[in-house]
């Protein structure tokens, strides 16, 4: 089974802290994604990566950065956490190949910034 693992299910951080959300997948997928999920807004794409050291901005990249030093790991970084970044964060991965590739999701990290 494909497994996408996010390092924390719940996280509480203070305003201004630098926050790292880690995601690891074990299926050698080329593509990895970070989404933010908010009630009434659905999931919104923050960043994605299609290869090691490659990254592309999604729909809401402001306030975030990412790092992909190894194929299996994709990190989301909040340089200076703010209360409006309190949210659920979902990581996903998918194999390369345009036809019908399914994205597999982690269980999410619920981040609270106080």
């Amino acid at each position: 089974d494909v497994k996408v693992t996010q390092s924390s299910r719940y996280l509480v951080k203070r305003t201004g802290e630098k926050v790292f959300l880690e995601c690891v997948q074990d299926m050698d997928h080329e593509n990895m994604f970070w989404y933010r999920q908010d009630p009434g807004l659905g999931l919104r794409l923050i960043y994605f990566s299609y290869d090691v050291k490659m990254k592309e901005k999604g729909d809401i990249p402001e306030g975030y950065s990412v790092s992909r030093e190894k194929k299996e790991r994709f990190s989301l970084i909040l340089e200076s956490a703010s209360t409006n970044q309190t949210s659920m964060y979902l990581c996903a991965s998918s194999p390369q190949g345009g036809w019908n590739t399914e994205a597999f999701f982690g269980q999410g990290t619920r981040l609270t910034v106080v």
């Binding site: 080329e30 593509n31 994604f33 989404y35 009434g40 807004l41 659905g42 999931l43 919104r44 794409l45 994605f48 299609y50 592309e56 999604g58 659920m88 979902l90 996903a92 998918s94 194999p95 390369q96 190949g97 345009g98 036809w99 019908n100 590739t101 399914e102 994205a103 999701f105 269980q107 999410g108």
Partner: protein, 117 residues
């Protein structure tokens, strides 16, 4: 840019009934995929069903089927013989076809489906 609209924030039906969740989308592209994902209280997103835009035949997976109307840009999900375990958030999602498949999914805002015993 693509948009996905789910017009039903919440629905509630009795167990064993059939329920249809609606989804419309907007795109100027011709090659794309559509998905329905389920997110139960455990928060794990699970793929329910997928549809390739070039296929006219509606996808079916056991009790789940879709009504794909390409011209109308509509992609509804029908759940037959609903079960308590179907209680979840359901998200409709869109993805453009690309060679590498790296484009992210565009999601609707979700429909909270509650199956009553």
């Amino acid at each position: 840019a693509q948009t996905v609209t789910q017009s039903q924030p919440e629905m509630s039906v009795q167990e064993a009934e059939t329920v249809t969740l609606s989804c419309t989308y907007d795109t100027s592209e011709n090659n794309y995929y559509l998905f329905w994902y389920k997110q139960p209280p455990s928060r794990q997103m699970i793929l329910v069903i997928r549809q390739e835009a070039y296929k006219q035949q509606n996808a079916t997976e056991n009790r789940f089927s879709v009504n794909f109307q390409k011209a109308a840009k509509s992609f509804s999900l029908k759940i037959s013989d609903s079960q308590l375990g179907d209680t979840a958030m359901y998200f409709c999602a869109f993805r453009l076809y690309s060679g590498g498949g790296a484009d992210g999914l565009t999601f609707g805002k979700g429909t909270h489906l509650i199956i009553q015993p």
